[in-house]
Every structure is written in C-alpha cells, then in structure tokens.
Symmetry: C2
Subunit: 396 residues, 2 copies
Amino acid sequence: MSRIGVDEHAGYVRSLLTGLSARPAERVALADALGRVTVSPTASPIALPPFRNAQMDGYAVRAADTTDAPLALPVAGEVAAAPGEPAPLAPGTAVRIMTGAPVPAGADAVVRVEDTDRGTEQVRIDAPVAAGTYVREAGSDLTQGDDVLPPGVRLASRHLAAAAASGLTHLLVRERVRVAVVSTGSELVDAGTRLAPGELPDANGVALAAAVAATGAAVVHRGRVRDDVLRFRDELDAAVDAGAELVITSGGISQGAYEVVRELLEPLGAWVGSVAMQPGGPQAVGVYRRVPVVAFPGNPVSAQVSFEVFVAPVLRAIAKLPPARTARLPLAESVDSVAGKRQFRRGRLTADGTVAPVGGPGSHLVAALAASDLLFVVPEDVTELAAGALVDTVEL
Amino acid sequence: MSRIGVDEHAGYVRSLLTGLSARPAERVALADALGRVTVSPTASPIALPPFRNAQMDGYAVRAADTTDAPLALPVAGEVAAAPGEPAPLAPGTAVRIMTGAPVPAGADAVVRVEDTDRGTEQVRIDAPVAAGTYVREAGSDLTQGDDVLPPGVRLASRHLAAAAASGLTHLLVRERVRVAVVSTGSELVDAGTRLAPGELPDANGVALAAAVAATGAAVVHRGRVRDDVLRFRDELDAAVDAGAELVITSGGISQGAYEVVRELLEPLGAWVGSVAMQPGGPQAVGVYRRVPVVAFPGNPVSAQVSFEVFVAPVLRAIAKLPPARTARLPLAESVDSVAGKRQFRRGRLTADGTVAPVGGPGSHLVAALAASDLLFVVPEDVTELAAGALVDTVEL
C-alpha cells in the first residue's frame, strides 16, 4: 500500500478539484445573494446619487443670495423627498427642502433648518452659505456605467445596498459547488434507531453535509450504503445524476475485507492508500463518471479532520470565505505523538492563551472533538512536545 | 430635539432589546441545526463508543497468548464492522477483525495486520502485544448520560458529528430572533423600475434584511411604505402580526415635514432625536404593540452603519456569533472630521496594514461603502487626524 505525506495528498486533492474553480455563473435576485460571489464587474445602470439632492432638512437657496446674511428670503414652496421634478428656484427666494429631496434648478446650496428661524412665509437665514453646501451632486458617488461591484466579491449587506441603490434586481454570481456526501458501512443505521450489537448511528452523513454547507457549497445528494459494492456504485450513480461535481465518501478505504470504496474505485484508477497523519491515515482520491471522489476514513473524527485539511480550503477559496484562522500558540501541557505521522490533535484555547489538549490522539473521540475549538499540529518528526512548546493551530 | 451620544444611544437600544435574549427553545433536526445555538446541556443516550471496538484492521487476540511471539495462532473467524455480536474468542486463537468492529469477549488486544503475515487459516504474529493495544473501550470518549454538548454552543459540523454519533436526531436550540424590516419614503420604488425624476430604488429593504440574516436572525416580514402615517401603521401591524419581535425601519425620523416614523411613534412614547454621529445622526427607538422598533435614517449608508453600531452586536451575541473584528490601525492619509460627532468613516485595509479612507464622510456614498472593508472611527473631540494616526477599526 502506498503511503504519502500530508502535503503531497493535499496537493493531489487540490489538483483533482482544480476544475471546480471555473464556476459557471447564475443570476440570483438580490434577496438571495447574501454570501454569494460576484462573477464579473457589475456596472451601475444609473449614476449615484441619480439626481442632485439635499443632504439636510432646510432651505434650498442660491448661495449668492445669502452673501449679506443674516437676512430673510421669501419661501416659494417646498420640495419633499418624493417623486416629481421640483420647479426651478426663482432668484431671491428659498424653498423648504427635505433630506434627500431633489435640489431645484437654480439653487446651489442648502441652509440647514437649524441655521434658520424655520419660517414658512419667509425664512430668516443666520449666515451666508457657500455654493455646494449640503448639496449632493448627481454622480458624486458613482458615474452611470461605472462598476458598483468588482468581480470576486463575497456579497455582504453593504454590497447589496449599493447594488439595490443602483437599481439592480439581480446579480451574476458563481454557482455553488454541488457536493454529494455518501457514508459507507454495514454497521451504520439512522440516528435515533435503537442500536443492536455492533450497530452505530451514521454521524458522517449529517456532519460532512454540514461541513460542506459551512464552506459555501451546496449538498445536492446524501446517501448511506452498507458494505456492498453494487449498492455503493448505485449510490455514486445517484450522486452524479443529482448533479454532484464532487463526491465525498466516508469509510471503505482501509485494509479490511469489506472496503467498498476501494473495491469499486481502485480498478477505475483511484489512488487508495495511507497518508502519514493521525487521525485520517487511510485516504483515497479518484474519479467516477468524470466526477472527483474524495474518500475519507469512516471514523467521524477522521472524516471531519480530513475534510478540514484537504477539502475545506479548496471550497472556502471558491466561495471567497476566509481561510480558517491559524495561530502559533504555546501548549498548556506536554503531549507525545508517533514518529512519522503528522498528528492533528484537538484542543481548546485557554484563558491564558495556551492550547489545552482535549482527549487523546484516538480517532474515536468524537465528543472530545465537539468539545474542542481548534486543531493543533504535532509534526511528523516530533514525538514529544513539552508544555510551553509552540504549536501551529487551526481554528475550528 | 434631544441629542445624545453614540454610547448612550447604544445603551438605549441594548436595553430595549434585552427581552430578545431570553430565547424560547425549539427542536430542530440535526440536518437543520448548523449555526443554531444549543439551549441546554445535551446528554448522550448512549456511551461513546457504544461498544468495545478495534482501532485497526488486524487480529483480535488475548495479549497473554502473544507473549512468546513471534508465533502463529489459528484464525478462528472474522469480525466485520457490521451488526451482530461476535462469538467469544477461544483461548489460543485469533480472529481477523476490521477497524471499528466489535472486539469479541475474551480478546483484549488487536494485532495490526501490518504486524502479521495476513494469514487466513493461521496467522503469524511478529511480536507480543500488551493488553488494550488498538482496542477502544466502550465509553472511553463519553459515558452514557454525560453531556455530549453544553448549552450555548453555536453548532458547527463537529458538534453535529458528536450529536449524531450519540444517536440524537434533534437538538433543542434557541429560536432565531424574528425581525421585520420596513422602508419608508415616498421617493422609493422597486429596484429595476425605470426611475422618474425624484425617485430612488429602495436599497434598505434588501440590504437591512441581508444584514439581519448575517447576524443569525430571521427576517419574517419586509415592507415598504410611502410617507403616509396610516400606511406605516398598517405595515407595523403586519410586521407584528407576522410574529416580529423587533422591527427595524429606515427613514421618517429627521427634521422634515413628512416623517412618518416620528409621527406615529413619538406620540406612543418613542424617543426620536439626534445621535452625535456621522453618518446616522437621526435615530429613534420605540415600542409598538409591545414590539421594540429601532428606527434608522433612510440613507442606505446611514442605515447600514447604524445597524452595525447599534443592533448587530446584540443579535450576534444572541446567535453566539463572534463580534465584528476590531483593530487599532494607522491611517494611510490624513482625514478631518466635525467637532462633537463620532464619525464612522469607511475604509480599506491596505497591503501595508494601514487604513485608506474610501470616499468622504457623506452618507450618500453607498458605492464607496460597498468598496470598503472596514469602518474607522474619528472620535467626537477630534477634528483632524494626520497620516499615521491610530484609529479604531471595525471589520465589515
């Protein structure tokens, strides 16, 4: 059985998934676009603001008419922030104007209501104003046809605000990566079933699907099969038929006698072997009906760690999610490891900024994984780390 | 008109929203639980692992039978990771065993397949093994009845893995906060409508809804009304009838003549006034039919900044989302500000770790907001900051 290093396997997975990066585009309504990623520069069909408008509640005036202020001007009317073209401002007059309302032709400044006597027939203006005061020029934020959003932006509310303000109703975004999750193992039953001897609830189905969703991809198929290679083949067919661009499997790739993933995929050219890591030693990558298949061990801890190490970085990058946060932190206590394997141990950040291991290295410690908030790495060539030693950590 | 400080207003909003923190609980299926927050400690109905099982593919043996290894033992059978109780191991024999399969009674160690000749009739064992080797004891991760998840955990895939492995199908989680978003303004039309003079696309509807969703709350109602106080009242009624526990409005609270939010809510005891900040000076908080209403100015930049400053921290804490990241960073260029107001300017983190302002202080610069990735603060008592001056930033 071939055995390779963690970085080498990560490279295999990355290159197998390269094709996923060229995302087709789809148009989605702004209301559905949060978290999606823009495909191309998005031009604004209008200028922003689309018309010259008042920055303050007050009075629209000609600045030149206020030179001798304090003075009073007759109030010729009122402009609300409402549809309609306001009448031009006659020289020597003022019109009451609301924030955001169009500034009438002829006016070139707004006097804040606070700087007047709030008059309705005529208004007393306390001090001269300069031309342009409290006037937002049309196009002062964005010229019509200019890009309101660049490509490759993961859309947050502020991007949707600008897109909507530009009158856009839809945006071109990357299609989500469509992923299928298939658990294998005759011992697996639905969670909630009363367990007979030797039975286990399927944890990877729901947990790998959640891990996929957390990276911004879409789970288009979920399945579970017993250790029967024809059933497994049917399940892969169903996954591909459901449009999966990536299939993630758990179980069926180690040295035992009933290894359905190995049995089906190895003859099709898949690499099934061992990666120098703990947990997650058995790993496989292959292609089924042109769809990449990344196969993890069946243990939920191994599967979660494998996903985080090999697949999550690729999917996060496609979805423009930030990579998992990393830090180099001191250990709260000593740990030992096995030579020749990179250990991804589970731990917790303590109040004093050190890393406390949670549970041992055993890949069956799924409750300990749930109680952890980070992975920390014990390198291949290290068998012992003292308390205080610095370790690389990845936030979970 | 009363004018208060930013922190004072933030305190008002926080205390108005205190009631939201006491979340009712609901049961959700694990498949729908990603990102939800556990309510109470969740006990595991089973031990983890539920039965003693093999950590490796190999042979289950009595350790005592291997003392004189290398030696050969007859292979009495095979145990797969499959349902069923394996027959007890007869002394002086071995059974082939797969990773995860139940270790037969009588056996107390597993010899890795790599440390044997892989025999099927009899197996040669290279070296003695100690009792317990490659055996995972039942309950070694978690005792039956112990807590697999604590309360107040925002559920990630690893928590779902542990819950599913425990046989749980549902979890008790906090109900999401139910929020309504209401835009006011006669000038507003649907995005995509050809704009007549004085009309603007409604940007706050979609953008505040997205901002709410990004904090883990649920938008249960969205509405838009022209500046007609009865229409606004109907819309608030619809929001409350839809189950909203919090209504967020935009527009209608400044000094102008058509301020429907002020008009309806001030007589009901709402505070409508001015907060010493830019953007977002006009603010209001009130209660309508016992439901808190937090009212923002109509400008999309003001509304987004107001949401981030006043409401997002409360909703994020309820959803156990981390607070927005803050940092104190040097300015790339000088900025000036107005005395007596806290400016929340928009900026970008540059490659050299400085903050480059994007656009000026104008609250109409929504495209500039979209092009920003942080807010930076110019304090109330500061009117000028030189390049290199440190500013407090909040990641967007």
